[in-house]
Amino acid sequence: MKPDIDALVTRIPGSVDFIQLDSAKCNQCGRCLVVCTMNLWRKRGNKVFLANDYKSRCLECGACYQVCEADAIDFHYPSGGKGVVYERG
């Protein structure tokens, strides 16, 4: 059994963008790809990028920002009142 993750998340849409990747700083270490439990970071060739639909899937944990020693990922929380809602957190 593997619970369907997206079905287990409630979210209020409408935030401004809150994660940015500075490709010039990225050293392709790949740590963001490992720690993002939602698999929102991808690598094609030697280019890392963030899923287009990240705003509707991100759980706002900040792990990608935390592991990015190259300081290429900028992360802020989504707009107030928007984003993920944990009713049983």
Binding site: L8, S79, V85
Partner: protein, 466 residues
């Protein structure tokens, strides 16, 4: 521009207590929460320890009316999962004979969903006169003449006052005031967790007053299992340095254990939510304050070094921060040097006590349940050999005892270095120069009173506190 005495960023346990303590001292206080209500962004719904009832008298007012998810109990369970994914055994434990604080004899933790608990806690701050602004993200710090003088919210509104950063593990306040951009990778953990819905009667029937379980395992980092009124959390974590693949894949190994699946069946449990959160977990909190800024709770890195209990430390540091801020304001000095007082204050509390042996405690935990492959692969079978080895009627008992001893001996090449490397430093830190006694059983027996005294002085037990 709005003027306040105290501006608190975050309405988690740290922020609400800071706001409550500040407002009740007559300070004009505002606290901000990015969620529509406090608690809806938090995922640690978990254990509140009996200490909280000691230090925060109003905890006795926590009732199922205000906090429907609450569930307390006296027992915990430890499962031991071997590298084949089999539950090789489990132990149920209740508060032991040595427990001295009376209420702790009847419950080990009170489990609550943060979505219930945090809003309840925030009402103590608003009742004390603090102003709560929900659905408001604080995006930056305001500077005047190069100094931090307040905060700016997402709408560009400015608020002037002494800033208490209670904004959790990914702290904007810590970042913007230059204290910390991010944690060292071995100072913070990542924790994915599922919530399952369960009928309360099933929990009562099947779990009784067991409120939590730990799944110690050779396959995944120790997983915790916590029961609430109508559901449970199952989650696990490890330091950022540890993960070699998607952390969720380790959690899915837990929910796929045959034993776990059976439990889910008999509890008739359904997955209800999925959460993921970071949690600071380190031996020594540093960089807790700057000019006109104090960090509390997760933002300050104060969760307990052994088990990362973080709600109580957030509340205690929230209180210490508000007291310090009040003194700074009345002294007219908000410099970092004056605010050093904050560290002295929280270090004198039971939170500070934890960190006296912080690095050793954090280390031992990391080396044991959080090193499933390196340590738990021998630890689990060794423990089970001892616990379960004798219950076997295949041989005369004398033969079995010899077999068990031989098997235990075969783990010694791993167990002894572990003891030397991980356990000895902890004992050293606790016992100091009394440590030599341990290496000589005769001396040890001859000096039991001295040993007791050493343990007592290591923990600085105060008269009548035990």
């Amino acid at each position: 521009m709005k003027d306040y005495d105290i501006i608190v960023v975050g309405a988690g346990p740290g922020g609400s207590i800071a706001a409550m303590e500040a407002a009740s001292r007559g300070l004009k206080t505002v606290f901000f929460e990015r969620g529509r209500k406090p608690g809806e962004k938090n995922s640690s719904g978990c254990g509140l320890g009996p200490r909280m009832w000691q230090d925060f008298r109003f905890m006795t007012e926590l009732t199922p009316d205000s906090c429907p998810s609450m569930r307390a109990g006296a027992a915990s369970r430890s499962y031991f999962v071997n590298k084949q994914g089999v539950v090789a055994g489990y132990v149920m434990a209740r508060p032991t004979e040595s427990v001295s604080y009376e209420p702790a004899k009847s419950f080990i933790t009170m489990n609550v969903y943060r979505s219930d608990f945090d809003p309840w806690l925030a009402t103590y701050a608003t009742n004390a006169g603090a102003e709560l602004k929900t659905s408001t993200l604080v995006t930056g710090l305001m500077r005047e003449d190069g100094r931090v003088t307040g905060v700016i919210d997402e709408h560009g509104e400015k608020y002037r006052g002494l800033v208490i950063g209670a904004d959790g593990v990914v702290s904007m306040v810590a970042r913007e005031c230059g204290l910390r951009k991010r944690w060292g990778q071995d100072h913070v953990t990542l924790i994915p967790q599922y919530d399952y819905a369960v009928d309360p009667r099933k929990i009562d029937d099947i779990m009784g007053d067991e409120t939590l379980a730990v799944w110690w395992s050779a396959l995944f980092p120790a997983a915790y299992h916590v029961f609430f009124h109508d559901g449970f959390h199952i989650g696990l974590g490890n330091w950022m340095t540890w993960w070699d693949k998607n952390p969720l894949s380790y959690l899915n190994q837990v929910v796929n254990l045959e034993y776990f699946k059976r439990l889910v069946r008999i509890l008739d449990a359904r997955p209800r939510e999925y959460h993921v959160h970071l949690l600071p977990w380190q031996g020594t909190p540093t960089d807790t304050h700057a000019d006109n800024v104090i960090l509390v709770g997760d933002a300050a890195g104060v969760p307990c070094p052994l088990e990362a209990e973080g709600i109580y430390p957030a509340m205690m540091t929230g209180r210490a921060a508000a007291e310090t801020a009040a003194e700074a304001i009345s002294a007219g000095d908000r410099s970092k040097e004056f605010l050093d007082l904050y560290d002295r204050k929280w270090q004198q509390t039971s939170v500070g006590e934890e960190f006296k042996t912080g690095p050793e405690l954090a280390h031992i935990w990391r080396a044991l349940p959080f090193s499933p492959k390196e340590t738990m692969t021998w630890f689990v079978p060794m423990i089970m050999e001892i616990l379960g080895g004798i219950l076997d009627w295949s041989q005369p008992h004398a033969v079995r005892v010899r077999q068990v001893m031989r098997q235990v001996k075969s783990y010694l090449p791993q167990a002894v270095p572990f003891l030397v490397k991980e356990v000895m430093p902890l004992l050293q830190a606790i016992l100091g120069d009394k440590m030599e006694l341990l290496t000589s059983p005769e001396k040890l027996m001859a000096s039991m009173p001295e040993l007791q005294e050493a343990v007592a002085s290591a923990f600085e037990e105060k008269e009548g506190s035990s």
